[in-house]
């Protein structure tokens, strides 16, 4: 299971921002730290980061939306990422992704209605010689087959 996240708290957010604001080029570091604490980047954090780094809100918002990693809202309780890049495609990844979508009843890039599982594509985990591979809440899994993907999906649904 993903780490239990804290609910958004302005004071806590300000502390996180202040902790990293002195670094060179701190924007990504702060966005990562905020997301690590709260599970996503709450909207009120954007103007706070902008003000701490003497940037415009637009600039920080632009950075926030440019990168695939940063979330506007919390993910499901478990995040299952399936590698969709070429090495995993060559090893049957397309079929496994379709199977996971069917089992969960959602397309890649979505969360189940009960917010238990978020299913996402990822473009390469660097496990290309033990393909196809996946990442479940930070745990890497390789050499996936039909039974393996079924087990992962079942684990994520628990």
């Amino acid at each position: 299971m993903t780490a239990p996240y804290e609910p958004w708290d302005e004071k806590r957010g300000a502390d996180i921002i202040a902790e990293h604001a002195g670094l060179e080029g701190a924007t990504l570091v702060i966005l990562h730290a905020v997301q690590e604490a709260f599970g996503y980047v709450p909207e009120p954090a954007i103007p706070m980061i902008a003000s701490a780094l003497n940037l415009s809100r637009a600039e920080v918002y632009g950075v926030f939306t440019f990168y695939h990693d940063f979330r506007k809202q919390p993910a499901g309780r478990h995040v299952l990422k399936l590698c969709r890049a070429e090495a995993c495609q060559a090893a049957g990844g397309d079929r496994l992704a379709a199977r996971a979508e069917a089992r969960l009843g959602i397309a890649l890039g979505n969360a189940t209605a009960d917010r238990r599982v978020t299913l996402e594509p990822i473009y390469c985990l660097g496990l290309c010689a033990t393909a196809p591979s996946a990442l479940l809440d930070g745990r890497v899994i390789g050499r996936l087959d039909d039974a393996g993907i079924d087990a992962l999906v079942a684990e994520a649904q628990r």
Binding site: H68, E86, A87, C124, V140, G142
Partner: protein, 518 residues
């Protein structure tokens, strides 16, 4: 006497159960009352044999693999009684797949404990730095230039020239940046070396700092590599403690600091100027060149930006001398290349060898063909921006110029193998789709061309006006190739055009001429 066992901590090994195997070995040893020390190494790169367990014996390190948790106890018994076991592979260094390699950069990977500075030093670590400290910076630069090392990230630019440019540019601050944004599918050499021998990257970057007069370095690692981030952070802390980073490093008058920064899932940040923007805390939008990063790089200061493997090659070059490195290779491709065999392949993994080996040897002989048992149909070399080669081109030697001459690229050394079930029009579509997802949006050919490319290939796949739409794809590719700002838009035509050229039959019926009268 305590028995020493080695189990990889490498993410590729962990993904197939290495952590559980280590635990099972520990438990089996405890129930048998045997004292064991389990050392978590990197991977040797023989991934079809992972998890590969090794045991220190008087004959050397004896390997077993692939070991599962259920077999761990039996493997332990075979080790203690020195008896045969079906998974016994013999002395690890003698395994033919490993013995055939020329491991210069990866000599320690899979052998040493990546968290132990002592282990690194005992295995020739910091000899490059020791020698460099007796040289002038000009002499260090001359060694790097004479080695013939070219940037291992993909572009193949001579490292010596890059470093010299930074050294000759005066500024109040300079930076060393390590590009560890290894986003190409089919590549994992950067990840492996960071997880298996992180000190070699630190030493290489430190040497760059000394050579060009920089005191601060950043390692930009992609967020998809949490294990590598942890390994590099631990190694940086260990190097600081041992006096190899910070003030008066290694007892010299030099200072060098290192910091890891984590990317956020943008493929384009592997492009060097986009990476610099990202490090500065901005969107990863590609910069115009000139100015070159060597003149105006990170925060506008002269910056050496190199790939992980380029920095990792430096300690060997400085320790052994430029000639020892340049003696390997062919033509203008000197030294060794860590080649990564991946996808649908029997013997996938990391194979470091001198340039010049042919693609066919790599795929059939070393890789053992497709894991599915079906014939190899296509091989993509160089990541998502690399060309698809058919069997007819398997005589191409692994060499920057030889691949370029056949409209391909070696890139970061990834080789992804596909069997005969592959639909090449689908792969061409994916190349365009990936470019559309990852485009930074700065230039029109990449941003719009890739989306139009997906739509047009979809029409071809539906059989709509195939000949005309193929002409549109070719035109789009030409525009992207010559009009894009960076390699993302500029190289996406490689996989698309190679699929069209070599696998035309996958794009619907070929145009028929006039039927001969019968």
């Amino acid at each position: 006497m305590t028995m020493r066992l080695f189990v990889p901590r490498d993410a590729g090994a962990v993904a197939v159960g290495a952590d559980d195997v280590a635990l099972a070995l520990e438990r089996a040893a405890a129930t048998r009352g045997i004292a064991v020390e389990i050392i978590r190494t990197g991977s040797r790169g023989l991934y079809w044999l992972e998890p590969m367990v090794e045991a220190a014996t008087p004959q050397g390190r004896v390997a077993f693999g692939p070991v599962s948790t259920t077999e761990a106890a039996a493997v332990l018994d075979a080790i203690t009684s020195d008896s045969p076991h079906p998974l016994r592979l013999g002395v690890a260094d003698e395994i033919p797949w490993l013995k055939r390699q020329t491991r210069l950069t990866f000599a320690r990977c899979g052998v040493v404990d990546p968290r132990s500075m002592e282990d690194y030093r005992q295995h020739a670590g910091y000899r490059g730095l020791e020698r460099a400290l007796s040289l002038t910076s000009d002499a260090i630069l001359a060694e790097v230039a004479a080695s013939g090392l070219r940037g291992r990230g993909g572009a193949g630019f001579p490292t010596g020239i890059k470093w010299k440019t930074v050294a000759q540019t005066s500024a109040d601050r300079k930076y060393i940046v390590c590009n560890a944004d290894e986003g190409d599918s089919g590549t994992f050499a950067d990840r492996m070396i960071m997880e298996g021998d992180p000190f070699v990257v630190i030493e290489g970057m430190t040497l760059a700092g000394i050579a060009v007069g920089a005191t601060k370095g950043y390692i930009y690692i992609r967020s998809e590599y949490p294990h590598a981030v942890a390994a590099m952070n631990a190694a940086i802390a260990a190097a600081k403690r041992a006096g190899y980073l910070g003030e008066r490093l290694g007892g010299s008058g030099h200072r060098f600091e290192l910091e890891v920064r984590v990317g956020a899932g943008a493929y384009v940040c592997g492009e060097e100027t986009s990476l610099l923007e990202s490090l500065e805390g901005r969107r990863g939008i590609v910069r115009a060149k000139p100015p070159l990063p060597a003149h105006k790089g990170l925060f506008g200061k002269p910056t050496v930006i190199n790939n992980v493997l380029s920095f990792a090659a430096i300690p060997f070059i400085l320790a052994g001398g430029a000639k020892a490195y340049a003696d390997f290779g062919v033509g203008r491709s000197r030294g060794t290349m860590p080649i990564q065999l991946a996808g649908n392949i029997s013997h996938g993994g990391l194979f470091e060898t001198a340039f010049g080996i042919t693609l066919g040897e790599l795929v059939d002989d070393i890789g053992g063909g497709c894991q599915s048992g079906r014939p190899v149909r296509a091989v993509q070399v160089g990541g998502p921006l690399g060309a698809y080669f058919p069997r007819a081109l398997f005589d191409t030697p692994f060499d920057y110029e030889a691949f370029a001459a056949r409209d391909g690229l070696i890139g970061h050394g990834g080789v992804v193998v596909f069997d005969d079930s592959v639909d090449m029009s689908r792969q061409a579509r994916f190349a365009m789709e990936f470019c559309a997802i990852e485009s930074c949006g700065k230039c029109t050919p990449c941003r719009i061309g890739s989306t139009r490319g997906v739509e047009t290939i979809d029409r071809i796949r539906r059989g709509e006006r195939v000949t005309e739409n193929i002409a549109v794809v070719e035109d789009l590719c030409a525009t992207m190739k010559f009009g894009s700002h960076c390699a993302l838009g500029g190289f996406t035509p490689y996989p698309v055009m190679s699929a069209l050229k070599h696998f035309r039959q996958d794009f619907g019926p070929a145009p028929t001429g006039l039927q001969a009268a019968e």
